[in-house]
């Protein structure tokens, strides 16, 4: 394929997909090890009311207010889950279930009530995302990457997602030692003077920011899948945290590229005319990778458990 076709139509969605996948997979590793894997699922459901409320307040579809609304809803949900868990003495899973389903229901209700279907804001869009539409029409070829006039019309999601990825990476790099210790031995971390509660909150907020940014660009399916599948597959590949992180990034990148290509060109190879959902395909590919890793990965069994049981 020539650059004249590839750069305007596929380069930006592909890059956005890769950035979103890696930005979600990185914090996902820690959430997975801390038994908080479903936080990503909860966050991606609760951002819906946040986005709707932001739209109702500002009346415009703009990325800024939407992301603020989504982030606000995510934080409200985390606080609410914690509150219900403590006040009602309910196990965390059930508390999470109560909160995210209710907030999602509230979001759907608001959406139906305000008749926002005329504008480009509907549930399906929020769920599936529209990775395919993030094209860069002003590009004419590889040369456009150096052309300031064309670069001005680059989809705004690309720099935003890149920034998010840098932010997530910085957070993990800065707190690497504390995160590692507190993930594996919280008690020991506390004796070292690490404020584990604060660190845990920081991790969840980082995850929420990554989720919201990715949600805006690619829809919630990728977010949930990338929080869990690449780290889970990576967990089967390595016993060391560094190794797991590396594998998870690799799995995320492979899912994004392979999923995007399969969604765009797979149906054409099979003789159909239209592409299928790229977000759904990326999630599917990450699941297949997980299945392969779970079946053949070198570290797939629990430590100490006899093999083959």
């Amino acid at each position: 394929m020539s650059g004249a076709e590839f750069v305007p139509l596929s380069l930006t969605p592909l890059l956005i997909g890769i950035f979103a996948a890696v930005a979600c997979a990185l914090p996902g590793n820690f959430l997975l090890l801390r038994r908080q894997a479903l936080i990503g699922d909860a966050i991606s459901h609760v951002v819906l009311p946040g986005i709707v409320v932001a739209f109702l307040l500002t009346g415009v579809i703009a990325a800024g207010p939407m992301m603020l609304g989504a982030a606000g809803a995510a934080i409200a949900a985390v606080v609410l889950i914690e509150l219900i868990r403590r006040l009602g003495r309910i196990e965390p899973g059930a508390a999470m279930g109560v909160v995210f389903t209710t907030m999602f229901a509230g979001g759907v209700l608001l959406l139906e009530q305000t008749d926002t279907s005329t504008v480009h804001l509907d549930v399906e869009h929020a769920l599936y995302g529209n990775l395919e539409s993030l094209i860069w029409l002003d590009a004419t070829g590889w040369g456009s990457l150096l052309d300031p006039a064309a670069l001005r019309y680059l989809p705004a999601e690309l720099p935003r997602m890149a920034l998010t990825l840098i932010g997530v990476t910085l957070f993990i790099a800065l707190f690497w030692r504390s995160l590692k210790i507190s993930t594996f031995d919280e008690g020991f971390a506390r004796t070292l003077g690490i404020r584990t509660n604060l660190l845990g909150l920081g991790l969840v907020i980082t995850a929420a920011i990554a989720a919201v940014a990715a949600f805006d660009a690619v829809g919630s399916i990728i977010v949930i899948a990338m929080f869990i599948c690449p780290p889970a597959a990576a967990r089967m590949m390595s016993n060391r945290l560094e190794g797991q992180l590396g594998w998870s990034v690799a799995f995320a990148v492979v899912s994004a590229i392979l999923g995007y290509v399969l969604a765009g060109y797979g149906p054409l190879w099979l003789g159909a005319t239209d592409a299928v959902s790229a977000a759904g395909m990326i999630a599917t590919v990450s699941g297949l990778l997980l299945a392969i890793a779970a079946r053949f990965g070198p570290c797939r069994h629990r430590a100490g458990a006899p093999a083959g049981i």
Partner: protein, 401 residues
Amino acid sequence: MLWDALLLQMGYNATLVAIGATLLGISSGITGTFLFLRKRALVSDAISHATLPGVGLAFLVMVALGGDGRNLAGLLAGSALSAMAGLWCLNWLTRRTRLAEDAAIGAVLSVFFGFGIVILTVIQTLGVGRQAGLEGFLLGSTAGMLWNDALVIAGGGAATLLLIMLLRRPMTLVAFDPEYAAARGISVSRIDMMMMGLVMAVTVVGLKIVGLILIVALLIIPAVTARFWTERSDLVVLLAGVAGGLSAYLGAAVSASAPNLPTGPIIVLMSFGLFALSLLLAPNRGVLAAVLRHLRFQRRVHLRQGLLALAQDQVIYEPLTLRLLRRRGLLRADGVATEEGRARAAKALRDEHRWALVRSDQTHEAAAALYDGLREIETVLTEDQISEIDRRIGGPREVPA
């Protein structure tokens, strides 16, 4: 309008929806309770998301065979099959790999849902007409419930209720003490599988009413709500059924009373309303009860400390203590103890000495363990034991000159 809807006066279709929703609410509340007690509430999330590819594939198969793609029985069969596949993946991941259950749940739900979306876009691009209504499975679409749909829901609900009646004992046992259940000869994995089968049945039946994302709410929230009110497992099951049925009925009625009120979300918000009320008002476990308990405890501590301070002629500065003592007529407004106050204070101090002796004496070890600085010693020891202790402390004596 709302009143009419509550009394089922809104016409045939609204009545059908209300009755169908109520049946679903009852059976999901009851089924969800066992899931909640087994601490696997979020498994329902994975199951419900896993139904989506089945719905899409069933549609494609039915169209390919030349039938109507929207046949409800066919779609439900498809969703049941793919939910089963999801459940199998979930089980395999938790048992055969090092993944924890929450990670396995997340993996299954995101991958199945993603694949389902792929299928849905395939259906859209195929352009086979009349796929409308398929999207309703995401968010539920009760407004269009037909007599046949209602029959499927009623039949499914009744079947799940019957099965639960039969499996009640072993499921309760497994939920609370799997090891004991296994020792009694109950196959824990088989009971777990049946429980999941029930959840799957409720999910599949509920798809049509509340949609696949919100059915999770109906499985979790009523059970959590009921748990606030009682410590007995059979009552929790019963109350969860009532809470689920009530919120579904109210939700269906409210959504019928005005346009633009989608049934599924309203039902979920109703059940959350019941949950919030229970969280606040339930006896023992409720927030209000806890606050009252705390205040009562605070008053007892302050009163006791105040009396001890009076007995030892210490000055009391704490305003709450002063207020409590005055209100009970133990202290005059000028801060001098009344007759009764002095008597009670002396008794409190003597009890403190008695306790000190009890706690230093090995023979009273069991009673000493009950000491918390508030308990009356008479509630722990017999009269004979107390007089024995008093003999050792000695009676009132004159101050030595």
